[in-house]
Symmetry: D2
Subunit: 361 residues, 4 copies
């Protein structure tokens, strides 16, 4: 006898891909289907799948064996259905109306969204539209508020640290400054952690504007102490003291005129200030691809199963979070439109300084 | 002008080696020497170096470039100076007296010990003897109380998960049950986390006595669902329901009579109960060797620098610990002679069950 | 309009699994189907699938994305249809008759077998029965004659070398002899290559009987030179000088009475002869699982595509081989029932001795 | 009693660093010193160390434990002492005179140079000046003539393939074309091998000028077959059909005007021709750093020990090479000023086409 379905749940992944998405999908599905008897419908390519009603029912054969796979079996996109503020004033149905329509057509009781800050912001707005949404915190940037950690971050940290390890041998063989640019437009978690893990001599993050003179002094002191090479880790969002004084618009303009990415600029500035030969590596997409490290699989499994438990309880409108080692649900509206920066008194900042790292200030 | 030395600090690593020891030594030394102007003396091969006064002053050239190295530049041993309860009743100086003598001869102001439960227990006893000791929680087993995590664990987790990943392909190609035995005599953190990360179908830990009938049923259900192979993760300290009823002495005796390690026994029991072809891999020393993963380098660096800060403050008699994302010092006597088991209601136990893992009960 | 099928080709994988099998299957299928318009039928679990006529047509969706996957999508078994010498004298159809029957029923024009020495021997016998067979040399042991290299070997070499790297840190931290047992019952390629790659101090292979006194002397000399630890790499098939004088039957009996595997015995012998603390790691199944390294994917792709080209030419009864950088076909009967041992004057033997490795003699 | 020194041998590493240099240095030293009783002097930073007479005697403590280390303990530079054709017509001693002077001052009997094409060309010229030189073929590009393989190549291949593997998950999750630029200015070995190993859909190498229309057609065909993403591997030296018709000077000029590197241009061209969203990763320095893979350690050890054997024999003026599995010495003058391109009928070209890869033509 076929068991009756207890709830129908939609699921989607949105924003940049991150290692652990599939582990989280598996965690949601296993718990929702096998433990609670729900039906799970996967929407394809993020919110676009909801808008266009493109989906498939997720059966065990689909989420078996995906735990260790990178990417997402559902596909993703950067579609933001609320991006136009007056989204429903035009003619014809707008994106959000189409989403609500899809939700109803599929008789969804609830929806799980896996994504970063943009995804959670949209999820929060959909919750306000009356949808039963639960968010999962995914991003390699670790910049989502209200949770101690996001899945994807540890894998990116591992990739970045491996890369720094590799650069060490070239740096030391050639007596060079090797600059490596890692992800992190708005928050410096990845540059800070990989910088400490990789033994970076200089680590620049968006939260601490850098002074090229300080950096030059630090590198020259290293030279005087007999160190013939240096590693400089730069977050995409690193900025100089001068830039930090610009308003948002002026900063954006300054960046548009910059030749190459910030890593190249820092290398040029170092070379100009010290005369040291400097080379650049931009790590790029390698940081978000590939099989998730063990910890991300564990974390994503925890978040996924916790989400399914919250679905079963009807505990909607929340994002699953890890706070002081406890899995909790935090209101999506508390997460929306916010960024978790690195506090300048964070213990890792102190650790970095204690082991002798120059943070640019 | 030579700066005067503010304090003289001893340091040693004791017990089984674990990835991150060198990162922690570097963290202590960089902070103690460069920030606080201390002198650091490294004692060789754990407490044995203290007993025999074998040491060397640690200069920057020694701890430069060791961040990513496995093992310990100081060497280690399993020497336990207090192991004989009546240790000072015999003739001649005993081990502890010799340690105190070494401490005085070297004019030590303080001592940092890096190790697991045995090391911390000794450290606590030395503190009672009047030495200024600070402990650092190192173990791949993650079984030290009062801290959320120990360094070494994440690397062991990564090695174990990689191994499980490798066994998957052989298991699926041959329609076999692959049993993998991982470390963990008294606590099941490693088998539980690697089991979830690797997608183990059965995961056995010391805290949950196993019933071979439950396991057999689970494997047979998998077969009926079309799964032609299974992965079984077994902690060294796993025990059956029957064994869990034995007293300590009887259990020890039973184990001495066991042919091969527990992994082999579980494989035989599965084969007998189900007829499924079962093969064993004992992971062994691979779990404690090699370069530490990024997270262990970060964690060990944090612990090392925090220890040096406590040395500077004179905040002795403590073990550095991570509690709810804060670095704190906990009294060594609270740590001594205790083991942190996996609570049976731990969120990871729940996660494991939710994704369909059989825990043997 | 549907193109007419040019040939119908069977394919199977047999013997222990090895990394690269899927890459080779993909190479055969892509070339046979897309370039030559053949139909490819995959038989499941080696020769058993031929005996029992269990198969499926391989369509692009099956061999897309398998290049980097370990194991084999076809499954494997150690089934040897000719193992009973008088295999057709009994009553009822025997295994080989059933194979021929399957071959005819499926209207096969040819058959590709991927496997090691056992597989090639069977393939040779089937060729004598009139089947159009082409063999591919797969084995982590690299012990197939007439080819310079087999796929699977480089991945096993990488896994074994990584393991030796890990053991180094424990060995050096504890002043121990670490013994690691790697695969290779009949040939020592893997122990020799991983021993040189990992910097093993003693490397034992089946081809060079070992004298424990020589080993002890070498380890003691290391101690006198200030080296406080050693790594000993032992092939499964390593044997002592005394054992090498036994006939096959006596040797087999001696081994059955041995407690534990050869790695354990060598460790005991070293400990007895030198007093050095010795520990053992048996690498086991980890050597054959997991994603193939880049070189094995390249090699398996080359072998697979070459096999398909030979199918198209009707160049049957051959095993694809790499000889002096050329892909050639060698008669299967030249390969059957033979083992490629390491010649004692091989250049790698010389290299090992030159870098100071003790080979046990 | 001190043994008398049989020969005094200089050694240096020159050009870009490559994994395996330290393994080769160790191979030379172990054999030369321990087997033949030579003295080995290491010159620092390539030919610059010879010009400036900067060196140190290499003792066992220096080359112990370096087998698995990336980079080179001797440092390297791109110094080319013969770069000025009329190098001795000016006033004062020129670079080559200084080298000869250093050679005499240190009473060198011979010199081992480890490097790529530039290094070997210089070595050949020094041999003509009367120095006893032996070259070792090091380069990640694998583009040295007269040898089947160079050390460094397999590690670069592994790094590039790992990167392609990582990009696969992002490509598939976002329905994108991911372009990855790998090293290889003059020869396409690395792009060809990593492209086949990573399952690249399009692989561009300098030897085969590409036609963007062919590439576009191939990618569109993939789309029609339901493949929603593609991987494009581009060698630094890839060029279009149009560019291949330019003379050297015009080509150089065209490249100087190109915005970004070739990977970016190919991505733009693909996006323009197909409308597919295309993203770029430039792998850069990651390809030459880090621990050498097992095979490179083996190969470098073989080359190093062979070099020492040739030193002992007085077999000078040669480069050590691997030809059809034999270690041989080839005259340096046969190697100088030449590049080993990928022959367009190479078996790997055929393999690539057989598995369905578009090579741009």
């Amino acid at each position: 006898m076929q068991k009756s379905v207890t709830k129908i749940c939609g699921i989607l992944t949105s924003g940049g891909d991150a290692p652990g998405l599939n582990a989280a999908i598996r965690g949601v599905c296993r718990t929702a289907i096998d433990i609670y008897g729900m039906k799970v419908i996967g929407f394809e390519h993020g919110y676009r799948g909801l808008i266009e009603n493109k989906s498939r029912v997720l059966n065990p054969s689909e989420f078996s064996g995906i735990l260790a796979q990178g990417g997402t079996i559902l596909g993703t996109s950067r579609e933001k259905p609320f991006k136009d503020k007056n989204w429903c004033e035009g003619t014809g149905p707008c994106a959000v109306e189409m989403i609500i329509d899809t939700y109803k057509k599929n008789k969804l009781d609830c929806l799980v969204t896996l994504g970063g800050n943009g995804t959670n912001t949209t999820a929060s707005l959909l919750a306000k539209e009356g949808l039963n949404v639960i968010g999962l915190p995914k991003t390699i940037d670790n910049d989502i508020v209200e949770t101690d950690i996001t899945f994807g971050f540890h894998t990116a940290l591992t990739v970045a640290t491996d890369a720094i390890d590799r650069l060490h041998s070239t740096a030391s063989s050639h007596n060079r400054v090797m600059v490596i640019e890692v992800m992190g437009h708005k928050a410096g978690w990845l540059s800070l952690y990989s910088g400490v893990a990789g033994g970076g001599d200089v680590v620049l993050l968006p939260e601490i504007p850098y002074d090229i003179e300080s950096i030059a002094r630090h590198l020259e002191n290293r030279g005087r102490a007999g160190k013939t090479f240096s590693i400089v880790v730069v977050a995409e969002g690193a900025r100089s003291v001068e830039e930090s004084r610009l308003d948002k618009k002026a900063f954006k303009k300054a960046r548009e005129q910059m030749s190459g990415s910030i890593g190249y600029r820092v290398a040029r500035e170092i070379q100009d200030a010290t005369g040291l030969e400097s080379r650049v590596t931009v790590l790029g997409y390698l940081q978000r691809g590939g099989t998730p490290v063990a910890f991300d699989r564990v974390l994503a499994s925890q978040f996924g199963t916790a989400a399914a438990n919250m679905l079963a309880e009807g505990n909607y409108g929340k994002m699953v979070a890890l706070q002081d080692n406890r899995l909790v649900g935090v209101p999506l509206e508390n997460v929306a439109n916010r960024i978790k920066s690195v506090p300048v008194d964070h213990r890792m900042i102190e650790t970095a300084r204690d082991v002798g790292t120059c943070l640019g200030d």
